[in-house]
Amino acid sequence: MVTESVLRAEGVVKHYGPVKALQGVSFDLRRGEVHALLGHNGAGKSTLVKTLTGSVQLDEGQIFLDGQAVSISSPSEAQSNGIAWVDQELTLIPNLSIEDNIALGGMESTFLAQRKQHRPRVKQLLEQIGLGHLSPTQEVGTLSIGERQLLEITRAFGRNSKIVILDEPTATLSDFEIERVFAAIREVTAEGVSVIYVSHRLEEIIQICDRATIMRDGQVVTTQEISGLDKSALVNLMVGQLPEFAEVQSIAKEGGNGDFSITNLSINNFVQDVTFGAKGGEIFGLAGQLGSGASLILRALAGLEPKSSGRVVLSGKQFRLGSTLRSRKAGVYFVSNDRKGEGLFLTFTNSRNLTATRLPILAKASIISRSVLKKSAETLMQLAGVDKSRRTMTVDSLSGGNQQKIFIGRNLNHPKMKLLLLDEPTRGVDVKGRAEIHQLIREASASGIGVIFSSTELDEIMELSDIIGVMHKGKLVNVEMRGQTNAAKVFNEMVRESEIEGVKA
């Protein structure tokens, strides 16, 4: 029964105006398998997912469910046919409670009287995915990005579907939470549910998936069993050769621009007495599982956490926390992990997004010329590695990974920048783009500014940091030079032994 196909797409074509997102894609999903969908940013993965879930209509081609030709014209039709999915962008409604969000769009009614009946089930779903500490009545707006992502995942699994599609479900989760997601996947696939899994984190793919379909420029390159493949083989199939970069020469001077020291930083009664610092030209990586406080530290430094205290000195000058304007004046620039909520102006063009933070710099006596804007946007697009022809398109017409590149690009090359903060800098970016973004961050750092980044991906911490700080439950438990530590050690500090047991059980 293993080879029985539950879902088949044949010759799917989808164009967005001049953009050929899918050009004749064929794909099949077997019962009980985890099928990876891989490909560079803009390859068409999300578009394929959207045609399968009725979110966009295909121009040509045919979809078969259990061998029956079907046309799926809306998400609710997809759902009533047993397809559940998690979108690449978060879709929860912030000012509704957790339980209402779970009920939302589901088959169950949301009437007040029925909430209580559903509550045990909601609790169980939260428990399963490791969100047991949350209350079903809590507003979603109070959750961190990672928690929201877990909530979306558990909501999808809670739908009792035949097919679950996860479009980059783990982009803001650490290895610790990912284990929980994997446990959930294994549980449902054992019952015959099929899973489509889109991700750029190749280790995950190798760990959890049975087969992989690799896409390039809207076409399928190949579909293969995972067992015969390793990471470099996958990279090769996806993007060919990875770019080679010359070692970045640091031009930072002693006592340079970006030296910073943070003393006794406390945030929201959660992060306590965190003290660290680094010199300009060094990249400081903050590791930690979801809710460890690593993200909070970056947010506090950006001035986004009103209840924060501590002494922060940047380039010899102290500044007070709690105001984005003060932080910006001190030279702090922040790339949030909430690209959609706190980052991009989604329906504005790429050009407007890229120049949004640098209008005062580009203006002469407060007046801005159009040609200056255009030139600046073009330079930044090139820097960020997004095709220049996309300059006047809206940013939400880009694939998720390319949106991230625009977001990063916006925060590069600022003459007044002294400290660059990046929360999850390569969220949703493909292996090649990831290497490019890392290079951009290294170059920015080499100019002498300070860089602090946080990542839930251990590999990224190990690759990019000069200094690694590990957060655990609001405390900075260790700081070491990269040369003096290794991935296993950092992981152990991130996740205490007892908790690891919890996951494996």
């Binding site: 121009d59 046309s71 014209s73 620039y333 909520g341 102006f345 209008l359 203006a363």
Partner: protein
Amino acid sequence: MTVITPTAESSTSIASFVRKISLVQIAAVAVAAVLIIFGAITNNFFSLSTFQGILNTSGIIAIVAIGVTFMTLSGNLFTLSASVTVLVLGQAFLEIVHFGPFPAILIILLLGAIIFGLQGWLVGRLGANVIIISVAAGFLQQGVAEYLSGSNPSILAPAGVTSYLWMRNTYGGILFSVWAMFGVVILGELFLRRTVAGRQIYLVGENRAAARTAGINVKRITIIAFVAAGICIAFAATLEAAYTQNAYSQGSYTFDAIVAILIGGTSVLGGKGSLIRTMFGALVVSYLSQMMVMRGYNTPTRVFVEGLLLFGVVVVMQLNDRGRS
């Protein structure tokens, strides 16, 4: 889900064409058609003098609406006291116009900037609700005006002062207020497109949290948007007072401005739209009222039809927004 046989062709080119036309486009064409048809069956409607009339009645409404548009673009909906401000500042203008028109205009513009700047400060700084603040500000202004003018609610133009009467003349058959409207649109659009603050108004309106994170001073931008609104509304007040030569009744500016903005297609949520759109919206409002006047309808009917139109616009926009998300 519909199970279809493999032979059935699902998407013909006509179907995909129809799918591409948005509800807004259909609605716009429908409204235009209705307006033109009614115009056509109204005697003498399509004549030069009618169009002069439409233009001439639109100038002041448009300037008020353009002012309110700054607020809308910045993500702060509308003011509900535009009419009151026009009345109160109009009274003030007639009281001080004997100092000479230019000093008087300047003082009124300054007052408008202050009245709205304060409201902007309350909204931007303290996070107050713009609707509530604007209603409260309306009552306050009315109270102050009544206190100052004593028992005499209507203020007439000062006898013998003629130095400002050029403000109510026509030039080339077109009222000064219409030329002023074009001037305000041009200056306003330049401000929005070519200055840092102007562009930041759009960013704040589109995504306030992102603007804040990007280091934009959201409070300052909110105040600037309100001040721009106040200046436009104050300017409209001087034009209105100069034209009517008295200031004793509130026009329907508050409502007209909202209708003009919505018909123009500026997003209620902020971030999208323009002053030019609002100007065209105001012209549609004028067209409508001119037509109704010529067909012999009274003011209540006119307001009723405007209300219907507004209702339609809101419903269509709502449906369209839902379709997009």
